[in-house]
Amino acid sequence: MIEIKYPPREEIEKCKEAVVSAAVSKKKICRPGLKTVFYGCGAAGYISILVYLLLWGLCIALRDGDPVRTGTAILGIYPLSCFAFSFLSVFSEEQCEIIELKSALRFPYFYIVALRALYSSVAAVFMNLIVAAAVFRDLGGVWSLCAAGTAFTVGLALMSLKVYEKFGSSAAICAPPTVWAAVCVLARSSEAGSAVFKALIETVPLAVHIAVAAASLALILIYVGKVEFKYADC
């Protein structure tokens, strides 16, 4: 009778891992390029630029002698300018019924949405800075407004992503910025709200605003990095 030696457990595990790693091919491309991230977003982009111009036009039209009221309008509009794009791009893809297929690919849909949110919020922050510097440079506390606006833009982008991850609908993207817009409208029209915004703009030092804006940028980078690790295995 021939005695057949059964291999030890560790060796079986090693063999199993070798088979799996041979079957599961190694990563080929680790990150999709900008063309891939924004593919099919042309119409959403054009409409967003239009919305962006309209929002800033509205902000300029609402400008009055009161720096707090003008500042509140700027703060309200600052984050909204990038959400039109996030919402419209996801909405148009929902209409094309393309999300299911894209979610089953190597770089799944949510990862692409997260990258879009990151890129578009950073782009909006820069564009807003340019517009604010060009149009409102004589307004008191404009740099504090820009820094606070950056923090709110990036913070709301982060919140929208979290809500979208949970509910998976374009409407979810709109929820945080809509609440924010409502808060700003109420603040503009109420004394208590104006007082809070006045304190935010005039009392909090610029350095604190800049630190918060930098922290919010770091937070969204960390979050997108986590999404990348979780969904795209990068």
């Binding site: 199993k16 599961v24 593919y39 690919l105 969904y231 295995d233």
Partner: protein, 282 residues
Amino acid sequence: MLTVDSVTKYYGKKPAVENISLSLGNGLYGLLAPNGAGKTTLIKMLTTLLKPTSGEILYCGTPIEKLGASYRELIGYLPQQFGYYRGSTPVQYLEYLAALNGMPSKGLREKIESVIGQVGLSDSKKIKMKKFSGGMLQRVGIAQAIMSDPKILILDEPTAGLDPKERVRFRNIISAMSKDRTVILSTHIVSDIESIANRVIMIKDRQIFRDSTVPELSAELEGKVFEASVPDSEYERFEREYFVLSARQEQGSMAVRFYCESPAPYRPAEPNLEDFFLVTYR
């Protein structure tokens, strides 16, 4: 090897599939059930679009959830609703999906030309997809699913909108592909899988009802399927008495194929998969 281990999926409190266990190696598996039976739910779990409420799905012994992107890279998937960008040409769209699937750009154009040729769209490859018929779009869907040469090919109702010639072409493509990979074809159209499936998996009451070959399933109805010519005047009574599988009008009578549990005084017929499907889900 893909293993589905005691998988159950609930939508809220409503069960969609319950305690499904399967073992899928190389070959073509036909997932056959009527609409609403849970096929798409199972497919979505196999493609990681849905998480099972309980149980797990393993690829080579590792949970697919743990493999994540590396697993999705191995899949070719055609969803029931194939979405596309209206303004893109098939080539542009396939290039885009290839980029999303992490395929290297080297040799990609040749690969795309090849799969477009396989599905018979070479003449339309530069036309925007908004001008395509339903069948042409479905062929783009098939092309994107096979483009990455996937180890696991999952097709949900792939022949919807295809004409008979296209169906035959499609069957030949996936039959050839199934030699060295796992192909899962979900359908409620029996003829899609009858001639090519190595195994037929049927779902009934949210559970696996049968996991057998086509001859084994057909053999279960041996001696229970008959043919008869029934005068028009008697057809109504006949229909009440027997389970009619098909009926064709002839001059003054109906040529009927029917199912009967016990031996009947009629001409026995060779049962097929469609008979089994109709009897199972009557």
